[in-house]
Point group: C2
Chain length 220, copies 2
């Protein structure tokens, strides 16, 4: 165990570099240079490059997921096992958006790293993301309890669209800013959260009987 100093220096340097330059063109040599440690240290402490990336991503994911579940649990307890759908959705997308958006200069390295992880897709991260399903199921369950008259299909689509809006907004935040000439203020995180929650709520609660049946209607 000893010092752990090298280990955390590597983690910090790697997170910083990946956040700034992406996974694509950051090599182990870049990382150890930034961390002022020897090249072999990475393999000694982490086993491999992929395991280093994985550890980085897992740490951050766990933090976000814990935050999500904390909000969810609090809401359900307060509502006697049933939380309003807006609050559930808020717990779902809030932590991620709050972690990844906001004024750039005060955006944490962790946040910038997570944005990278959501833009660039790299094998070790993809593997971990695939295990996120169990976590999402908990939200699906809460949503079902909140909207007992909605079918499972509608619940899952609502969940999918909520995540879609949150993640896409993060991924393409730069483009949206440019496209809208800065009119869409992505630094006002709570406004973004409110927008996503609002639309997702509509998707889940609107009396949309039409989408089930005649598919081609909207095309007309």
């Amino acid at each position: 165990m000893a010092s752990d100093h090298t280990r955390s220096a590597i983690l910090a340097a790697a997170e910083r570099l990946y956040a700034d330059r992406g996974f694509g063109d950051v090599t182990l040599r870049d990382i150890v240079a930034e961390a002022n440690v020897n090249l072999a240290a990475v393999n000694y402490h982490f086993g491999s490059k992929d395991e280093l990336i994985a550890e980085l991503f897992v740490t951050r994911s766990i933090a976000t997921n814990r935050e999500r579940l904390r909000e969810l649990k609090a809401a359900e307890e307060q509502g006697g096992g049933r939380a309003p759908i807006e609050v559930i959705l808020h717990a779902l997308v809030g932590p991620t958006l709050r972690g990844c958006l906001g004024p750039e200069n005060q955006r944490s390295t962790a946040a910038r790293f997570m944005i990278r992880a959501s833009i660039e897709s790299v094998p070790p991260i993809r593997r971990i993301k695939n295990r996120e399903i169990d976590h999402l199921r908990k939200f699906a369950g809460a949503m079902r309890r909140s909207l007992p008259d909605r079918s499972d299909v509608e619940i899952y689509w609502g969940l999918n669209f909520a995540l879609a809006m949150a993640h896409h907004t993060i991924r393409e935040s730069e483009r949206l800013t440019k496209l809208s000439d800065g009119k869409c203020d992505l630094d006002d995180v709570e406004d973004v959260v409110a927008r996503v929650v609002s639309v997702a709520t509509m998707a889940l609660t609107a009396g949309r009987t039409e989408a089930k049946a005649p598919s081609r209607l909207a095309a007309r």
Copy 2:
């Protein structure tokens, strides 16, 4: 000019391999083996690996964008310069979804390639995507004409959310299928399109005066 045979053999092989295995682990040597041409042929005909990828992606993007604009133009002409918002949104997300979803076994190589391009992010493709803004502006314009009482901000957010739902559904189609135990049928493309259009329309038309002002409302 001559035969062009080698050139198109490379393009076809590359698209197939990238679609199947992703950009990450397909090398030029894999491509030329699949195409039955010499290794040097890629650099001779395309200049570099990146230019090959770019050409592949540009070709498919242009096709999609043309399709989008064709639908949009037709709709606006029919409506005397002003199309219903649902139809505009349909023109925006329809071609992409139609190109990338649907029964897997009848999904074209081109479609699978475009899915890859949206999942794995690779430098030459990212560069091209950044130039897509002008194209999106045309849709923003049409949406503004369709909803003259909506502010620009609302238009852009609606556009953003529509693209978000479409792209995320494509990217995470596998996960959504697994999460929903197959209850969400992603092979019924027109149903998916209808869902996206329906939610995006709600986002754009609902009397949502609240999102502008008190940000923290949804959290309660």
